[in-house]
Subunit: 213 residues, 2 copies
DNA sequence: ACTAGTATGTGAAAATTATAACATACTGAA
DNA sequence: TTCAGTATGTTATAATTTTCACATACTAGT
């Protein structure tokens, strides 16, 4: 049963989408079976780690055979929630909000953007990628009338905490935060930060530290 | 001396930008000194971890006093390379490329976007955020004539590997990859992946797994 | 059916990472 | 100048994460 109450570590969870991607590619290539060793060579990790990771959720393989690609992909999809849809709204239709609204990959992975909110009058009533742009004043009403699972925060830095708090109070289940700050909210809400600049700085560090060697 | 040859773990490195942010905010607030305990409360980590992390790079604090905020910020900046500039080019002026070209935070953190490349004729010769848009045919020439430290890859999925390879061959030092794939290159180049969809899927997982409890 | 080969699931070991504990050294008030 | 308080740097311990190793069980060719 996949409903074991042993806690899955975040390290494992963060690797799951990577398995998802590789298995998807294998499926596309028509590969029907794969061993942990073969997959480990493709992914550049140890076979042992793959077996350990998968076993957190169940025994999906078979001794002497390996893993059925389609089956394993289905299982990983289920674990990641791709067997159902998430309703998502975007708050802030700036450059980043616009980019996210047009990113087709989200839909493929189970996330439907059902609304966009901003305050600029000239945007209200328009559509982006077939998604209606509404005024922030309509936010509360919209969230009350629609199941909104996730709010994407792509608003200016200064406005982020207040809007995050507002979404938390409205009962949205998760926030995907693009502002370079760590949100701390007094609500029962999951937060995933993107922190693009942080990632770029890490790249800068890697480059510099290699130079020094 | 900061040139110790003991290896700094990636776990520590990934926390550095976070320290950078908090120290920057403290500076803005006029705070001149802070102890690891105070900082730990703000950041939601243990004071011990902060002291351990900082000590990888040197003893920046003073017993009985704590850390001088300005000094510590300067040191972290130096470690992260903000004491010099990185030259960056964007490959692919789609929605994401456009958003990144307009993101002002990068400049603040030491990254200058010095060129944008695409293949769409109507874009070539225009400027975005005062950055010239050039044709991909001009890429090799440009990289040879300018120091390019980092290439941002915001091109369609299928084109990513070939362009990454091209930048690797041209001697670019780092790639910041926005395509949902892991790049593996036979060159001496640092790669930092963003993998937005992966991050969103992790958020989805967190939401689901909380529901089940 | 038999058997050599293969590959999982898992318990144990190793490595890494985080936390705790504390000796040392500075601060700042009297 | 003294001394109680504070907070670092660092060593030791704990926790977590990764890797190893192997018994078990299936595959597939003869």
């Amino acid at each position: 049963m996949s409903n074991d109450n042993k806690k899955i570590s975040l390290a494992v969870v963060r690797r799951l989408p990577r398995y998802y991607r590789y298995l998807y590619d294998l499926l596309q290539s028509g590969v029907t079976r794969i061993s942990s060793r073969e997959l480990s060579e493709k992914m550049g990790v140890t076979a042992s780690q793959i077996r350990q990771d998968l076993n957190c959720f169940g025994g999906f393989g078979q001794q002497g055979y390996g893993y059925n690609v389609q089956n394993l992909f289905n299982e990983i999809s289920k674990i990641l929630g791709t067997d159902h849809r998430f309703n998502v709204i975007i708050i802030g239709l700036g450059n980043m909000g616009h980019a996210l609204a047009n990113y087709e990959n989200f839909k493929k992975r189970g996330f439907d953007i059902i609304g966009i909110f901003d305050i600029k009058p000239e945007l209200i009533g328009t559509t982006v990628n077939n998604i209606k742009v509404m005024h922030m004043d309509e936010l509360d009403e919209f969230v009350k009338n629609n199941r909104v699972d996730i709010g994407i925060l792509s608003v200016p830095y200064g406005q982020t905490p207040a809007i995050a708090d507002r979404l938390g109070r409205l009962g949205v289940k998760g926030l995907w935060n693009f502002s370079p700050m760590d949100l701390k909210l007094p609500y029962d809400i999951e937060i995933e930060n993107v922190h693009l600049s942080d990632s770029l700085m890490v790249l800068g560090y890697k480059i510099d530290s290699k130079m020094k060697k």
